[in-house]
């Protein structure tokens, strides 16, 4: 902690030098979130793919599309129907989501907190980038259910969209352009202002004693959560079997690979804002954080594919509560209320 002022001085000097060096040629783009606090993890920036540079107009278009139900076959479903900002962009309280024509899916809608950092998307982690992931819900028959041609025609018929796509992409609306705009918006869904982040940044008061004890457990060999829930977003982005069931109804990664050893493997989810995203696990089968921790404490159900890390942990009730307190300290309400991320006013309102 004591070294921190030196780091800041160094950083400021560095920034100053860089600013001086670059000043005559280009001013840096305005930050997308002027309100983001300057704290530890915020220093890393969301990776932006070369073929989809971030511009304010593109992000604005993506935001509009994200909240627009006209992107679905029956005009009732938007991305935000299942990824609601107040629940950290998950489907508040619902085990599985409902798509067009009331069709129910089979999986729990994950949070989109810091989703721009995920290297693998979907529960089995088989999609490599946000642009391509978005093709899934837009075309899936139980989510939004539009064919590429139909989506393009619809948006072309809405003058403000026709114009916005021409301005942003220099081409008429298409499924591809829609996914590029939405991905640009998703890359602004960054959250770094939880009590845990403030503690990391040096605020000793940010975490309660219970949360502090929970943090120790989380990162210890006893709780052993940190091997999978690792890094700034508490995920290794890898598919793992947590012995949730002996027989998995949803077989997870095996659906894509056909391999027996992949049955029951799902991508480790981020734990940021996890207190807002109940119910839990790929199928939304666990209602509360306490029950999730108890699942780990029991060592799960007998399962041949279970990860070696899953075993009875021998945590006391107090320790279980402490872990829950720590998980609750990962909540960032400045994220869920950030006006830049909420539905834009005007046309195509929120679902």
């Amino acid at each position: 902690m004591r070294r921190r002022p030196m780091v800041w001085v160094g950083l400021l000097l560095g920034v100053g030098l860089l600013g001086w060096y670059f000043w005559p040629r280009s001013a840096p783009p305005p930050p997308l979130h002027p309100s983001s606090p300057r704290i530890l993890f915020a220093e890393r920036s969301v990776p932006i793919p070369e073929d989809n540079p971030q511009t304010p107009a593109k992000v604005a278009l993506g935001r509009k599309l994200f909240y627009d139900t006209r992107l679905s076959k029956d005009n009732t479903v938007a991305c935000a129907s299942c990824h609601k900002p107040e629940f950290a962009f998950s489907d508040g309280g619902k085990a599985v989501s409902t798509g067009i024509f009331g069709r129910k899916g089979t999986r729990n809608a994950p949070t989109l907190t810091n989703v721009g950092f995920r290297r693998h998307l979907f529960w089995e982690g088989r999609s490599p980038r946000l642009e391509l992931q978005a093709v899934g819900p837009l075309t899936a028959h139980d989510e939004m259910g539009l064919e590429p041609e139909e989506l393009a025609q619809r948006l072309q018929a809405i003058p403000e969209y026709a114009q916005a796509f021409r301005e942003v992409f220099g081409e008429p609306p298409s499924l591809r352009a829609v996914t590029y705009a939405i991905a640009a918006f998703e890359r602004t869904l960054v959250s770094y202002n939880s009590p845990f982040d403030r503690y990391q940044a040096g605020d000793d008061q940010a975490l309660s004693p219970a949360a502090l004890r929970g943090m120790e457990l989380f990162f210890s060999e006893k709780g052993d959560c940190f091997h999978c829930h690792v890094g700034p977003d508490f995920t290794d982005d890898e598919p793992r079997n947590t012995a949730l069931y002996t027989v998995y109804k949803d077989i997870g990664l095996a659906r894509a690979t056909g391999k027996d050893e992949d049955v029951g493997k799902f991508k480790t989810p981020t734990l940021r804002n996890v207190a807002l995203t109940a119910p839990y696990m790929h199928d939304g089968s666990i209602r509360t954080l306490r029950e999730v921790v108890q699942h780990y404490n029991r060592g799960g159900e007998p399962n041949l594919n279970a990860d070696a890390l899953i075993r009875p942990l021998g945590l006391t009730d107090q320790e279980v509560d402490d872990l829950v307190a720590f998980l609750e300290a990962l909540t960032d309400t400045s994220f869920t209320t950030n006006p830049a991320l909420l539905p834009p006013g005007g046309q195509g309102g929120a679902p």
Partner: protein, 247 residues
Amino acid sequence: MKKGWLVFLLLLSAHALAVPVEIKVNLRVGDRPLQWGQTYQTPQGQRYQIDLLKFYISEVALVRPDGREVRVDGLALAEFKRDGPTQGVSVMKLDVPAGQYRGLRFNVGVPRELNHLDAGTQQLPLGVNSGMYWAWNPGYIFYRLEGTALLPEGNQKWVIHMGTDTFRIPVRLHDLQTRRVQINIPPGGGVIVLNLDVARAFEPGPGGVFVDWRKQPLRQLHGLSPETSLLMSVVYFNMQTAFSLAQ
């Protein structure tokens, strides 16, 4: 050096002799032309309609009487949509030397080297605008057949999405031994007409297994899921003989 020139000249002359050929497809159900909105029956007596068919053709080669192949580059996406034409639909244009052939072969699918490139940056017929990109399982759907099952409990949509490198469908329509297969490409160019029996997908497999739409999981056949992989294999083998040369 000399050899190089020879090859160059040979290539040049081969190219000069190449004439335009079009591959056209007739959709069939059994031996009748497919009609949108018409109700058909599987061998097991399940009633259905066809709503959509799209598939990729690639790695086309015409086979000469001596067995050598004239390979054709390129990839095409064949599309058949409700209320669109189903007979004599042009699906691919190629250039091959005029002459006698003993048939052709092709794959239904996207070549492996194209199947895993970044679909965000690929152009039609690939890319996400094709409607064939598989978001949760990178790669393309090779053969996409969709329809409606008319079940006692009501109508249910079903899909067969065949893809992944395991399910690239080889179609072999050549015969060197007998003279049954003859394709004549005249000097002015020509047309190769194929029949595709879409109902072939529903033929039963080993032990009589079949795509039973009464079972909810079987209405979504895709990928390598162990739950449905047996039926995917059945459809896959059926599809290898679903194409035939017309006339």
